[in-house]
Amino acid sequence: MFVQHTSLPAVAAAEERSALEILMTEPEAGVSDVPRYVEMPKALLLLKLKLSPPLPKEPKD
């Protein structure tokens, strides 16, 4: 059988209640990440860079 706390914690302070209220009314993301102009040649270059095999490590002395 589950044992339940019988004592209630102290009532949250105004600051804590305010923090909860803010989180209950969380607004949309502040910064938009809407699609913008992408310079395709640069994007392709980036792709090439990522697809290239890793450069061999220099041997240690």
């Binding site: 914690p9 909860l20 009314t25 993301a29």
Partner: protein
């Protein structure tokens, strides 16, 4: 603790509560809410998180007909005692909070064994504000921002004037989802998609396909247990969509 740190603690705890509810929506036996709260190092923050997740805690009950355990219901009652609802809903923010509390209180009263709930702690009366948050005179941007904040009310069987107003707003809802997705604000998108799924499962025609939207957010980077919970609820709702 300052306000920002309080918010971080509450957010972390809410993610944990949401993860437990999510597990139950996905088929786990229990939420284990009372277990979580009673083993928590910071009882007050845990109860704050329960207040924050609020009506979502009833999702397994409403979607999968899982029982609401007495101990879990008692925890919700205790969360209202620790974080008492504001007396009046004057500002827009207070109105949103009041409606979320209304939903939690109503579901608690309906689903829980009245014996375990301590009477008088949870709000049972509807807030005065009726549908001011979602009236037709609002711009679609304001309308959908309010609908996103009210997304815990997007549950089957809850009903009420907020859901009725959302059902009337298929166009601002779809515009809000489109805006959120284009801004790559997946959290807001998931909240609105949940409303869209509820509308659709209630037979209200939608200008956009909610199933595609759920997949979009899932595949393109929506993360976090609260977002996943919104999507899981939407998916469950869509499965019960009328033919």
């Amino acid at each position: 603790m300052n306000g920002e740190r309080l918010q971080v603690s509450l957010t972390d705890a809410a993610a944990e509560v949401a993860a437990r509810v999510l597990g139950a929506v996905r088929g786990a036996e229990d939420i284990g809410l009372a277990d979580y709260v009673d083993t928590s190092a910071d009882l007050k923050t845990a109860l704050g998180a329960v207040r924050l997740i609020g009506a979502d805690i009833f999702a397994p009950h409403l979607l999968l007909d899982r029982p609401v355990h007495h101990a879990d219901a008692a925890v919700i009652t205790r969360s209202f005692a620790a974080f008492p609802p504001a007396g009046q809903a004057g500002t827009r923010r207070q109105q949103v909070v009041a409606w979320r509390d209304w939903a939690t209180g109503r579901l608690l009263a309906c689903a829980a064994d009245p014996a375990s709930a301590e009477p008088g702690l949870a709000p049972t009366a509807a807030p005065e504000t009726a549908t001011a948050l979602l009236d037709g005179a609002k711009t679609w941007q304001e309308w959908s921002a309010n609908a996103a904040q009210l997304s815990p009310l997007a549950l089957p069987g809850l009903g009420g004037p907020i859901a009725a107003a959302v059902f009337e707003g298929a166009r601002p809802l779809a515009r809000g989802v489109t805006r959120a997705l284009l801004r790559r604000d997946f959290v807001t998108a998931a909240r609105l998609i949940r409303w869209m799924a509820l509308s659709s499962s209630s037979g209200v025609g939608q200008p956009l396909d909610p199933a595609l939207l759920v997949e979009r957010v899932r595949l393109y980077g929506g993360t976090g247990s609260r977002l996943s919970l919104d999507l899981a609820i939407a998916r469950r709702l869509l499965r019960s969509e009328p033919a």
